[in-house]
């Protein structure tokens, strides 16, 4: 039983470039995942408008009844978010690890076009390894 349900990466215009499902009952088809990603992108932007103080960089954590959603935004505007079980720890660290993998295996790939869907084998392999490692650590507690 993994604590992570799914992982999304969206580019700076809000388009979905990567989606991986790790075992939720509500598996989404491509269209739905695209819609959800753009919706999240807009919500993230609107939340910055509603901040009572200056310097808001958008939603970092959304808590719902049955899941938590952690979001990490890089300096370039690429957003990484993960849907997990409520109360899962260390998701921020996991998102930073995913960001590092993204820079190593996607951005440094000379055949990868910016803002396009990610189709890099090494990225997938290493991402699965990172999630597995995380899973072992979580279950081991």
């Amino acid at each position: 039983m993994s604590a992570i349900y799914s992982l999304y990466i969206i580019n700076k215009s809000g388009g979905l470039i990567f989606y991986k499902d790790y075992g939720s009952k509500g598996r989404m088809d491509t269209n739905d995942s695209l819609r959800v990603a753009s919706l999240w992108h807009s919500m993230h932007a609107i939340s910055q408008q509603l901040s009572p103080t200056t310097g808001c960089t958008g939603i970092e954590l959304l808590e719902a009844d049955t899941f938590d959603l952690h979001c990490f935004q890089s300096l370039t505007g690429t957003k990484f978010f993960v849907v997990c079980e409520p109360g899962t720890q260390n998701m921020e660290a996991l998102l930073k690890v995913v960001y590092e993998l993204y820079t190593d295996y996607v951005l440094k790939n000379p055949f990868y076009e910016m803002e396009m869907p990610i189709r890099c084998e090494l990225f997938d392999i290493n991402l699965t390894q990172a999630i597995q490692k995380d899973r072992v650590v979580l279950l081991g507690r």
Partner: protein, 155 residues
């Protein structure tokens, strides 16, 4: 919040869990199910991005969409409605709070469609009990007030 004499209001206000000295809350909004803002109070809001009408509309719109998103993204239910279809209060999974680096927004919706929103500093804990308490105050003093007409801002 004023506590007028009688003990018919229950539960008693929960003690905030060590959230620092001084005023914790930035703003509070109350909406009914049609999007009419019934109450808006601010205690600490250095930045105003929009005029009040637009601000209320934006807040309501954000919450409506986030609720729809949460229902759609719910990983534990297999059958979900389409995005954008209005969810009945209580149907499907709903979010109860979100946090950014500058504020934390806590949300509660009652079965009658009244939405309570509290914007506080990011270190605040779970405010669901506080929102329930505010709801009880609302029931006591607003809903039971014979001179109050539903759908109009609270005075």
């Amino acid at each position: 919040m004023q506590f007028f004499g009688g003990s018919e209001i229950s539960p008693s206000p929960p003690t905030p869990a060590a959230t620092g000295a001084g005023n914790n809350a930035h703003m509070i909004y109350l909406f009914n199910r049609n999007g009419v803002c019934l109450l808006y109070r601010e205690w600490n809001r250095p930045l105003h991005t929009l005029n009040p009408q637009q601000d209320h509309k934006l807040m309501f719109g954000l919450l409506f969409s986030l609720k729809s998103l949460a229902a759609k993204m719910d990983p534990t239910s297999a059958d979900k409605g389409n995005l954008g279809v209005p969810q009945l209060p209580g149907q499907g999974c709903s979010f109860h709070s979100f946090r950014t680096n500058t504020y934390k927004l806590s949300f509660m919706e009652t079965p009658s469609g009244i939405k309570f929103i509290l914007v506080t500093n990011p270190r605040t804990g779970d405010l669901r009990e506080t929102l329930k308490y505010i709801y009880n105050l609302y029931v006591e003093y607003v809903a039971k007030n014979p001179l109050y007409s539903p759908g109009t801002p609270i005075r």
